[in-house]
């Protein structure tokens, strides 16, 4: 007699997988609303600017390097390297470290492109991380309203 296939593992596994995949998929670090001209916000053209840079989870990479070091019997070297990398990235931060610190400096130019008239209002600036495990997208997003014409 055949025993029925056990499905008890399915629920917890799916839940764990969903948690692993979804863990902090979109992490909000800060949101800031600027002054609002109601007429521009209600009647103007909405624009959205998004700038992203690749972020790396240094701590996670360090742990991975340590694990790899154990398996290749070079634990000491990899531990030192991982600790050095982690120590060189200390201090307050939002999200993961990126390779370019000036990636958001073009925001002003992008606003000028999005709203040539310069009459911008209702700006909301959002800093968020799109997390994909050890890698992430470090995002700066700006949403605003533009009054077209002079």
């Amino acid at each position: 007699m055949r025993t029925p296939l056990s499905t008890g593992w399915f629920g917890p596994s799916v839940l764990l997988l969903a948690m692993a995949l979804g863990q902090g998929c979109a992490i909000l670090h800060s949101a800031q609303v600027g002054d609002i001209d109601a007429q521009i916000v209600m009647e103007g053209k909405r624009f959205e600017i998004k700038i992203a840079e690749l972020g790396v989870d240094i701590e996670g990479m360090g742990d991975l390097a340590k694990d790899l070091g154990k398996s290749t019997k070079r634990a000491e070297e990899t531990n030192t390297a991982a600790d050095l990398i982690q120590m060189s990235n200390m201090g307050p931060s939002t999200g993961n470290p990126v390779f370019r610190v000036d990636y958001s400096d073009t925001l002003i130019e992008r606003i000028k492109e999005a709203c040539p008239s310069g009459r911008v209002s209702g700006l909301i600036s959002v800093r968020e991380t799109a997390s994909y495990g050890l890698l992430s997208g470090e995002i700066v997003k700006l949403i605003g309203y533009c009054a077209e014409g002079e």
Binding site: L15, A18, M19, G22, Q23, G24, C25, A26, I27, L28, H29, S30, A31, Q32, V33, G34, D35, I36, D37, A38, Q39, V41, M42, S121, G122, L123, I124, V126, E128, I143, G144, Y145
Partner: protein
């Protein structure tokens, strides 16, 4: 009550009491002299099992404030971003609150 049950009850109590609020960020714009018409908008998202796929719910804040101040300006906008933990790892929420002062007509 057996020791085991006592420990479980203690653990449940600890977990139920850890529900707390964390301030993530706060910012403000210049505060106007006239502050007699306050307006407020809130963006809120309840998150289960740490799963949150976008933060688009905050985008509506400027429009929500503008609707409360037709033909005027909202100034002195204080934006507050909080994390609320109802039950660790299971249920938490993100709340972004924007408050400001409506300036209309001669008050501008």
């Amino acid at each position: 009550m057996t020791m085991g049950r006592f420990k479980m009850a203690g653990l449940a109590l600890v977990f139920s009491l850890v529900g707390c609020t964390h301030m993530r960020s706060v910012s403000t714009t210049s505060i106007p002299a006239q502050r007699d018409k306050p307006v407020e908008a809130e963006a809120y998202r309840l998150i289960f099992f740490l799963m949150n796929f976008n933060n688009d719910y905050v985008h509506s804040l400027p429009r929500d404030l503008a609707k409360q101040c037709p033909n005027g300006r909202v100034e002195g906008v204080l934006t507050k971003h909080e994390d609320i933990i109802y039950f660790p790892l299971i249920a938490q929420a993100i709340r972004v609150t924007a408050t400001g002062y409506c300036q209309t007509g001669a008050a501008q």
